[in-house]
Each structure stands twice: as C-alpha cells, then as structure tokens.
Amino acid sequence: MKHDPMTNAALELSLSEIAALSARATRGAGRNWGEAEEAAEATCWLARAGLNWAAALLEVLQHPDADGACALRTGIALADSASLSGIPLNAQHRIDSPCFLLPFIARIADQTGQRIKLTAADMQVVIAPGACPMITGPLHMSGPTLVTITSCQRNSPPCPDWPQAHRGAVLATEYARLTQLMMAFTVPTSANSQAGAGAQGDDND
C-alpha cells in the first residue's frame, strides 16, 4: 500500500489487511507464531471496536516482556486459563499496554458468559459477552500500569452494539513502522522460485 511519508494522515485498512500486517509485524519483531496469530486476532477486535489497534500493537512489540508485563502474553495466558479456572477475578497485573488486554478479556467474557470490568488507572472498560466494549476515562495505551480485572454487576449499563464497519484506521507513521517490522520477516524471492512461478516467460500466446 502506498502512502505519503511526509504526512501522517490516517489510512484505512480492511480487517484482513490488519490481520496480515499484524501477524507479520509481530513475527518480524521476533515473537513466535502463536503470539503472531493471537496479535492478529486481537488487533482486528480492537479495530472493530474503533480503538487504535496499531498504536496498541506497537506498544506491545517494543517491549521484550523481560518483566512479565507484556499485554499480549498476559492476555493469551488469561484467555487460555478461562475455560480452566474461569474469570481471574480481582487479578492484578502490571501491564505495559493495558488496551491490548481488552480482546483477551472479551474472549474470557465470551467463554464464561459473564460481564467483566477492567480497570487501569483512570480507564474503566466493561465487556459483555459478544458486545462492543464500554469505555470510560482516558484510554491507557502505554506505560506500565496496574490493571485490575473484576466481575461486573449485572445491572451495569448495557454495552453498545458493534459498529457496522469492518475497517480500521492507522496513522502513516504507525503503518510505516509496522511495515518495517513486517519486512524483517520476508525473504527475497530466489531466482529459482521466480522461474518456477513463470516469471521468465511472457504472455503473448
């Protein structure tokens, strides 16, 4: 996709483009394939919710998880355990990119059929099964933050419906950075592969 590097206008990507870019960028950043697939699923969820999926992913990828604060890894572990031990109620985690936990909390809500509240500093997010997140307070995209996960009262306000759009915006600078990470995972096409793919012939027959 072409863009003008001199501007930082928002670009719009389809969800499948977001998934492909996220998976490849995550792999390019040195994460394993399992994390790459989960990151792609998570960024699509964030995009559908109208959240800044690219900034959240970049925040995750710039931290190597030396201290267990990676939202991606924590989210995966929490979601994997949901069918084993239910909602990790009142669990507290110190997380670098709290926003990136939301897709995994949503999965836990889906699996357990319960509403869940995530609190990170001034940000409060309520997620009901299958619903769009209801967010109050400023979004916490970065910085180590203490995150608390609790169950949510049934009489709390209803969560909004999902928007109809299946797209996601990304700033040109974020797109460029993710593309740079993605390219680290690509391989130059060999001459042998090009030839086998028919590149040496023309089409005038």
Binding site: M1, K2, E12, L13, S14, L15, S16, E17, R24, R27, N32, W33, G34, E35, E37, E38, E41, I76, A77, A79, D80, S81, A82, S83, L84, R107, D110, Q111, A165, H166, R167, M183, F185, T186, V187, P188, T189, S190, N192, S193, Q194, G196, A197, G198, A199, G201, D202, D203, N204, D205
Partner: protein, 560 residues
C-alpha cells in the same frame, strides 16, 4: 456452519471415504469440478432467483480502450463489474503476479456505481496492487488477452467470418485473469462484511461473479473491435462458439497456503463433497432420470478430456489415465454394471476404486454427483465456515486427550524423520517483493528462519514429542506456558478433533511435495476445468466454459 446435526441422510455415513484416503495430495491433485463447485452454485442461484443483467456503461473506443459496467441485479442487491480496457504493448504482457500492466482491469462494485465512483476506480483499479479500492468493492482483478486467439477472432469477425472453431477449442478463452483478489485485499470489503448475504454466503461467490461477467466483457470487446475494424461487414460471434469460451486464469503458489491456513473451511469443502458422494452411494436404486443424467455427464466428461491438453509431463500422464479410465467406465456402465444390486451406485463406485486410476476415480465421483442435484445441492450451504468460533484455544483440555486426538488425526505425520534432508527440503515464506507466499529450498536458499508455519506435519510430530513426557491430566494451558512454540499445533489439533478433513495428510515441506496438487484441489472447488500446469508451481485453467451468458440466463440454463 456445521450441518452434522441436521443431516437428513445419516445412513450415508456408512458410505463415506476416510480422511486418510481423501486428504492425500496425490488424490487431491486429481480433483474434478462437481455440481457443488462454487461457480456452479452461483449460476444455480442466479437462475433460480431470476437475476437480471444489463450493461449500463460502454465507453470503449475503436482501439479497445475505455470502460464498461455490467450489472447483475438480484432480488435484493445489485453488483456491478467495472471494467477498464487498456492499450498494452506486447512487451509488457506477463500473466504472473509480478506484472505491472494488463490488457484489462476490473473491480466488482457493491451496487450501481456513480460517475464519481467510476472516476475513483479509474484512478486505482488499473494500478491493481499499487492502487487502493474501498469497502464498496468486493473484488479486484485483471486479465490479459490470449493474443493469438483474440486477434484471430477480431480479424475473422471484422471480415464477416466466424473464427476457426478448432482454434477456439484449443485455447478456450479470449482473456485470462492473472489475479482475482477479494476478502479485503487492497482495501476491498472484508469477507465478514458480506458473508451474511445469502447470495454471497457460499465461498468465493463475489470472485466467481466477477469472472463470469468478465467472460461477457471479453466477447463484447472482440465484437466491438470487429465492428470498429470491419464496419458493416462485421458479424457477431456465433452462439455455439461463444458458449464454448470461458475465462482463462493463471495462478500460482499464492493460493496454495490458503487451504492450509483455513483448516475449518477446507474441512467443510471436502466434507460436503464426500457427504454428497456417500449419499449417492447409499441410494438403493437407479432412477431413469439419474441414469440418463449420469450418462450425459459421462459423455461430457469424455468430450472434455479429449479437448483437455497440457504441455506438462505430469498432467499429460494424468490425461492418458483419465481418457482410458472414462472409456472403461462407459464400457462398464453399458455392459457390466449391476443396477439391480442393493446399492447400485455403491457397487459402481467400488468397481471404480478397484479398477481405475485415481484420476478416473475422481472423474467418476463428479459424474455420479451430477444427476443427483435434489439429493446433494443443499450441501452447498455447508461449505462456508465461521472460523472465528474455532480460534480460541481450550486451555482446559488435558494432555491425555490431546495424545488421543494426535494419534487419531495425525498418525500419518508421526513416523516421518523430519531431520532427513528430503523430508524438510522446502520452506514456505512471504516474498519481500510482492508479499506473496513462495516456496524455498531449505538446503540451498536463505530465509528458512523466516518460515511460515505451514509445516503442519512436522509441527504435529514435534507437539507429539512435547506431549510424551507430560502427565496425562496436565491442562494444555499449563503446557503452553512452558512451551508456547506449540501453540499453532495445539490450535490445529483442537480443530482437527472436530473436523476430520481439516488437514492435508502429507508432509508439505518434503522434496517430493507438488504444489500443483494443492492448486488443483482448490481450483476444482472453484469449478475450474482444463487444469494445465506450466511448472509444478503454477497453472493455467479455464472457468465458465460451456456456461450460459447473462442473456441466456432466463430459462435456458444448461449448467457449466
């Protein structure tokens, strides 16, 4: 969706082939299109629902340059193929994905485009990958002329003559598409945005509609150029010659990983076809109409096999098998088939399994399905997949249960020594230049450390080893905390437990793996004919040959 619980013919289960038989590349590489193929589903729906078609825009000049719009008007929604015709110098004509210019470029628009939409598309569609389309577009594609035939047809029509029928049969199309992108590619609408529409719920319906309307454009274009050149002398293409033309397609490795990365979808395609075969085999008699329809299908298969040529040794050998096999089927049906047997179709099938090469067995399958529309067409509704449902990993599943699943579904993968050079000779990767999947040679090309996780057999075997020393009651969530590298394998194993046709049961990185076998299987589900490999990595095929045109859709639907 899974239709298992709704199966109206549970007794057919006893006649199903096993995944160990069906999911081998050698057999998948002999796949033939059937009446469940996606283009057949599209044509049936449009005919049943009485779709209308028109061409509200035709702004093509005497040199064949300009734009056109074709509309398919369904009961609820309208879709428009927006076509741009270009003046392409011969030296720029390449049918591989590396090309940057084409004879014609297309987008399938959701609705009827306004003048502003057309201007926006004109600025982007001709650029293909270098341009940008929007959520209003469902596909992006391009096509090149089959130059020799295209020029011949224009020349003949301009001079008041019909083209040489043998030439038309030999090539089979005036243009061939070199890529048909959908599902969110280059900004197009995501599959999820349209999958709930009944007319697009079956796989690849937007892409099939785009190609079908492209076929009409190719004929309109040659007739237009003939008129421009020949004036009043020019004639239109004879209907019987026109009907035999399809749209060619060149395709390569890029589409192969799709079926590996979408195991639930692959399962649903294969399961629908296998269930269809099982239902036919479970019939306790041969109806007169079914017998007649089967004989017609067999005759058409033989005619198609006679016209089907290939320059590739592998495919030439298969064509010999196919022609000989179809002749033997015809002979057996005429002389020896016991139609009074308790399960006559099953008896025929069993005879074929014991007597025919694989290529002819799969052709027999297609012919047996053909006259049984009422019995099997509903299975087309089961060929899509809600893949998101199967993405989450069930962390509570225990190691002991996973061992049982791996043994049952991946036994074929566990005995291979993946340290042997031949068993890990290849690696799949994403190319730096086009971001397309490619296949590298592990032992002599760089980049294996950036391998795509398409080594499904090796992953399963590694996961099997990881399970070996673990306690049987350990939840997999705990195992993954210690060994996160097995996460993709865990997901596939959990999917395979409920989807027995989810995995190609061969080593996809071995030295003798043929990518064209994957391509042929996928293309057969599309409905492609005349499979013609140009190497083991890319092929040419034809779509919609023999199918009706839009102006033939009301009443006269002899299906492709």
């Amino acid at each position: 969706m899974s239709c298992e619980g709704l199966n109206p013919m549970p007794q057919a289960r006893n006649f199903r082939r096993s995944p160990d038989e069906v999911m081998r590349l050698a057999r998948m590489g002999c796949s033939h299109p059937t009446r469940l193929s996606f283009l057949r589903q599209l044509l049936r729906r449009m005919d049943t629902e009485g779709w209308r078609f028109d061409r509200p825009v035709w702004e093509i000049d005497a040199n064949g340059v300009g734009r056109a719009v074709y509309r398919a008007i369904g009961p609820v929604r309208t879709y428009s193929l927006v076509a741009f015709a270009h003046d392409l110098p011969p030296e720029a004509r390449s049918d591989r994905v590396i090309a940057t210019a084409w004879d014609a470029t297309f987008a399938l628009f959701d609705g009827t485009p306004t003048a502003a939409d057309l201007d926006r598309l004109k600025a982007n569609v001709p650029l293909q990958e270098a341009g940008r389309i929007s959520a209003r577009e469902l596909s992006l594609s391009r096509a090149n002329r089959s130059v020799r035939l295209f020029d011949h047809v224009v020349e003949r029509l301009a001079n008041g003559m019909q083209p040489d029928a043998a030439m038309l049969l030999e090539t089979g199309y005036l243009m061939r598409t070199t890529a048909v992108y959908g599902s969110g590619k280059f900004g197009a609408a995501d599959r999820a945005a349209i999958a709930q529409r009944p007319e697009l719920s079956a796989p690849f319906q937007a892409e099939m509609l785009s190609v079908w309307l492209t076929r009409t454009f190719t004929v309109d274009l040659v007739e237009h150029l003939a008129r421009a050149r020949g004036g009043s002398r020019a004639v239109r293409l004879a209907p019987e010659l026109k009907r035999g033309l399809g749209v060619g397609n060149s395709t390569g490795l890029g589409m192969a990983p799709f079926v590996i990365r979408h195991p639930v979808l692959l399962n649903n395609w294969m399961l629908a076809r296998e269930e269809a075969l099982a239902r036919v085999r479970a019939q306790t008699g041969v109806g007169a109409n079914e017998l007649a329809g089967f004989c017609v299908a067999l005759k058409e298969a033989r005619e198609n096999a006679d016209l089907w040529t290939s320059a590739h040794d592998l495919q030439r050998a298969k064509l010999v098998d196919l022609r000989e096999g179809l002749a033997r089927i015809a002979s057996h049906v005429a002389q020896d088939w016991d139609q009074a047997a308790p399960y006559p179709w099953d008896e025929l099938w069993r005879w074929g399994q014991n007597s025919l090469p694989m290529e002819a067995q799969e052709a027999l399958l297609a012919a047996m399905l053909e006259p049984h529309g009422a019995l099997i067409d509903g299975l087309g509704d089961c060929m899509d997949a809600d893949e998101d449902t199967y993405f989450p990993i069930n962390g509570a599943i225990r190691v002991g249960e996973l061992r049982t699943i791996v043994q049952a579904q991946y036994g074929w993968a566990l005995g291979i020594d993946y340290t042997q050079p031949a068993q890990c000779a290849r690696f799949w990767y994403v190319s730096e230049d086009k971001l397309e999947p490619r296949l590298g040679e592990r032992h002599c090309e760089p980049g294996a450390e950036r391998e795509l996780p398409l080594d499904t057999a090796r992953q399963a075997a590694a996961f099997w080893l990881a399970l070996r020393d673990q306690p049987g009651d350990l939840p997999v969530a705990h195992l993954l905390l210690e060994a996160p590298e097995h996460r993709p394998a865990v997901r596939r194993v959990q999917i395979a437990a409920r989807h027995p046709f989810a995995e190609i049961r061969d080593n996809l990185i071995s030295a003798d793996m043929l990518p064209i076998d994957i391509l042929r299987c996928k293309l057969a589900f599309f409905g492609a004919t005349r499979f013609d490999p140009r190497s083991v990595r890319w092929v040419r095929i034809s779509l919609f040959q023999g199918a009706p045109y839009p102006d033939q859709m009301n009443g006269d639907v002899h299906e492709a």
